[in-house]
Symmetry: C2
Subunit: 202 residues, 2 copies
Amino acid sequence: MEKGPQGRRRGRGARERILGAAQRLFREQGINRTGMDQLCAAAQVSKHTVYQHFAGKDELVAEYLRRFDPDVLPGVFDRTDRTPRERLLAAFEVPASTPLCPYIGAAVELHDPHHPASECARDYKKAIAARLAETAREAGATDPEQLGEQLALLIDGASARTRVLDSDCFPAAAAIAAVLIDNAIPASSAQPGDDRGIAIAQ
Amino acid sequence: MEKGPQGRRRGRGARERILGAAQRLFREQGINRTGMDQLCAAAQVSKHTVYQHFAGKDELVAEYLRRFDPDVLPGVFDRTDRTPRERLLAAFEVPASTPLCPYIGAAVELHDPHHPASECARDYKKAIAARLAETAREAGATDPEQLGEQLALLIDGASARTRVLDSDCFPAAAAIAAVLIDNAIPASSAQPGDDRGIAIAQ
DNA sequence: CGTTATGTGTACCGACCTGTTTGGTTAACG
DNA sequence: CGTTAACCAAACAGGTCGGTACACATAACG
């Protein structure tokens, strides 16, 4: 317990602490390499409590992935001060040394397409592509769905390749994205003085 | 070997059988989910023999990855009956439901950039990009290194995304590749009657 | 106050993992 | 033939895994 003077009772927010620790540990070291004991220690929670909140590790993993939904690419789609084209390109402005996309990681590590977390990953990926397509439509793309799918593929490629090569691949992906976007939007839509590609081409 | 009437003797080729079983099992179910016992059974080899040929599982995994080198994208780079442009696009003609690129899988599963297999994966990815760049140079690209890196990124993206979505993403990647290639090659190099993109655009 | 959730710590279970050891068998070769 | 190197089967060792059981402590609320 080690409580005493300044009552360090962990309190009622066990579930939140569990999910917080899960987010940190799963992203840092992967899912399979993170044991429940370690997770309990990091969350300052007893094992009993974890299994009281989650049916098992699989459930916890699925919930950990669902938690990403609310903050889907924060500041990318909802920035009204940027043009649609700028918003599309903003999806590639990830801080350097961002860990592998957790959905790709889960799909690879769990290796079961029917795992609840894998299904969650599919849903998320489709949602991202849909939002990209939506923005692509705003930008005036002739085939928004195709452009959205293409940009989503670029993001996944940059994420996976960054992991394998251990060096940031998002600038290269952004350069491709710029080409695709300009190729998909009829010339009339291009803003005058558009600085397309500057400082992005790798 | 497997001689004799009811040839129960597995023979001398133990190492090859081990690597063969490793290739099949690691690709089918992943590295972490494949135990040494299962691998021994599949290779019809005793555990003792495995550890006589390989210092440990890590060594075996690394050797399993090195085995891919000789047949790097067979029939892609060495087909002289195709134009350079066709060879570049051929890299995206993978049979449907091809499992995840083993190098990406290893890098994600092992999760340690210093693991011998991870270093092997990096080397391989760089080699592929280099060969693509080489072919891009033949095709007359203005910046072959950039195009090679871009195409490599597309391949990785298609592989990873195919895994997550559980549906073939290589056609979409090929469509992007066609755009990038044509964008990177000065107009003069384009062959007359070039059927660019036909039957590839998703 | 007493009750009821909710939490704690610890020990434990069976399963599986990588890796080792033992003792015996078989094939190949001089 | 005899020697040797490769192999096999099976038990074992030590560790970690996900998950459970038990007895106890605390917080919130009536």
